[in-house]
């Protein structure tokens, strides 16, 4: 059991996909209300709030804006910005706030109307110049955000013989999982051939190798294990966690090994578990190559064997290690920094045994991994009942 002694007692999602009639705050309110209903709690029971920055509006203190508009009387509040790792980070930081005695029940909420607030072209440009690429030493050379990951993919293919078909296998598997999630954004099944024939964006990545852009929000309620015992849901415990960072920009690093080595090692150490104990892994999937590199760095296979690992149904439902069972960022939904938070929600569903058609049999231990920047900053959680 984790030293933080925290438990997740409520999860919620807004509608995900194209939701043009909801603002960022409305989407977050939808997710928060769903999580409260799931937990059997009222907003007045919440005394801590964590959220992330959004891209669609300028909030000078996101946690203050969100707490005020949702009506949270917070004894503790903070804005967590670990980019795509923020979802995992919020859970651990909520656990620490509770362990310190500063508050008892924390609402973590994130999401926005990233798809509907402007054009796709505008979103692509704002992301390309939005800080993932170094403003002086990278942006002037014209990379898309996907280009930064394409550099990783090309190098991985060179060093280890990883193939475009193996990258495509990741997209196909995760789409199949999304097809079983009624709230996923993209649910039509695709084949390896569809991926390989989809538009080449930045070689070797096709459009189907890249995350989608969505509207949506997710919320998770964290409290102490003691308090969780009296609540409606079977508590899901934070068993362990770790963080990792090996670079800030992709142009000056080794490309194929990441801080997930460190975050994974620490998560397993704090939980007293090994990769073999994991029943389901919600791997961050901003691009297909991300999944392959993370599976290696987290210790599910050796460095260089990730391409082979994702073949033959191993990462699909019914396989040895089902990953990203809600459809992830590639198909489920990707509303910016909140995107990785759906991975947490899904991990909770899986270990509760409430994932419906996509339930992993006897799932007791779930790993969640978030990555931010360009495979820069990492946070890994281990959750279990």
């Amino acid at each position: 059991m984790s030293k933080t002694n925290a438990a997740i007692v409520g999860i919620g999602e807004s509608k995900v996909g194209s939701v043009p009639d909801r603002s960022a705050l409305q989407l977050q309110a939808d997710a928060a209300q769903a999580a409260l209903a799931d937990a059997g709690l009222k907003m007045s029971d919440i005394d801590g709030l964590l959220t992330t920055p959004v891209r669609v509006e300028h909030w000078n203190m996101p946690c203050g804006v969100v707490a005020h508009h949702l009506g949270v009387r917070a004894k503790f509040l903070s804005t967590v910005d670990l980019a795509g790792a923020s979802g995992c980070g919020m859970i651990h930081q909520a656990a620490m706030a509770i362990a310190s005695g500063q508050c008892s029940t924390v609402l973590c909420v994130a999401g926005q109307n990233l798809l509907s607030h402007g054009s796709r072209a505008k979103a692509v440009k704002s992301m390309a110049e939005g800080g993932s690429a170094h403003p002086q030493f990278e942006v002037p050379y014209g990379p898309l955000v996907p280009s930064l990951y394409a550099l990783v993919a090309q190098r991985h293919m060179h060093e280890y013989g990883t193939t475009p078909e193996q990258l495509a296998e990741v997209a196909v598997t995760i789409r199949r999982h999304a097809s079983l999630n009624p709230n996923a954004h993209k649910r039509e099944l695709i084949t390896v051939d569809d991926v390989l024939k989809s538009r080449m964006i930045t070689s070797p990545l096709h459009i189907f190798d890249c995350a989608i852009v969505s509207d949506g929000a997710a919320a998770v309620i964290v409290t102490s294990a003691e308090r969780a015992r009296d609540l409606k849901q079977k508590p899901v415990h934070l068993l362990g966690q770790g963080y990792g960072l090996r670079h800030s920009h992709i142009g000056d690093t080794e490309l194929t090994t990441t801080g997930a080595v460190d975050s994974g090692r620490d998560a397993f150490r704090t939980a007293g578990l090994t990769p073999a104990d994991v029943d389901v892994a919600q791997i961050y999937d901003c691009f297909t190559i991300t999944v392959i590199v993370e599976l290696e760095d987290l210790g599910f296979c050796k460095k260089g064997e990730g391409g082979h690992f994702v073949e033959n149904g191993r990462i699909g439902l019914g396989g040895e290690l089902p990953i990203t069972t809600h459809g992830g960022l590639l198909s489920g939904g990707h509303p910016g920094l909140g995107g990785g938070f759906f991975h947490v929600v899904e991990a909770v569903r899986q270990v509760r045994g409430e994932a419906g058609a996509r339930q992993v049999k006897d799932a007791e231990v779930a790993l969640v991994h978030g990555n931010g920047g360009v495979i820069s900053i990492h946070c890994t959680l281990l959750l279990g009942v």
Partner: protein
Amino acid sequence: MSEVIERPMPVPDAATGPYWAAAHEGHLVMPRCNDCGKYHFYPHPLCPYCSSAKLEWTPVSGRGTLYSFTVVHRAPSPAFAAEVPYVVAVVELEEGPRLMSNLTGCAPAQAKIGMPLKAAFRKLSESVTLPVFEPQ
């Protein structure tokens, strides 16, 4: 109504001014540590190897190899639309540091990891020159 198409330009600052000034004169310089002797890039305020603040901009050879690359087919903004497809590269210099750049002087299809490269200089404006790389 036509929008002004502005290419994103590097804006030199206190930490990077010497790099861009040298590039504008056709040279490549990198921070080198006076304590441990190692080069690094992108510029840090402290040496990433020994935390020393005794860093000095030092000329490098401009020779290196292609460490990784991607051929960009969809422009990130209208400013790059006329240039697609183009190669965004990571170059590993002989002196050790890596940096992002463009590969010029050969067709995108000729890009191959490990190919020897040398720095070239692309003037973007009266005050800014972008280091790029071409086959040796």
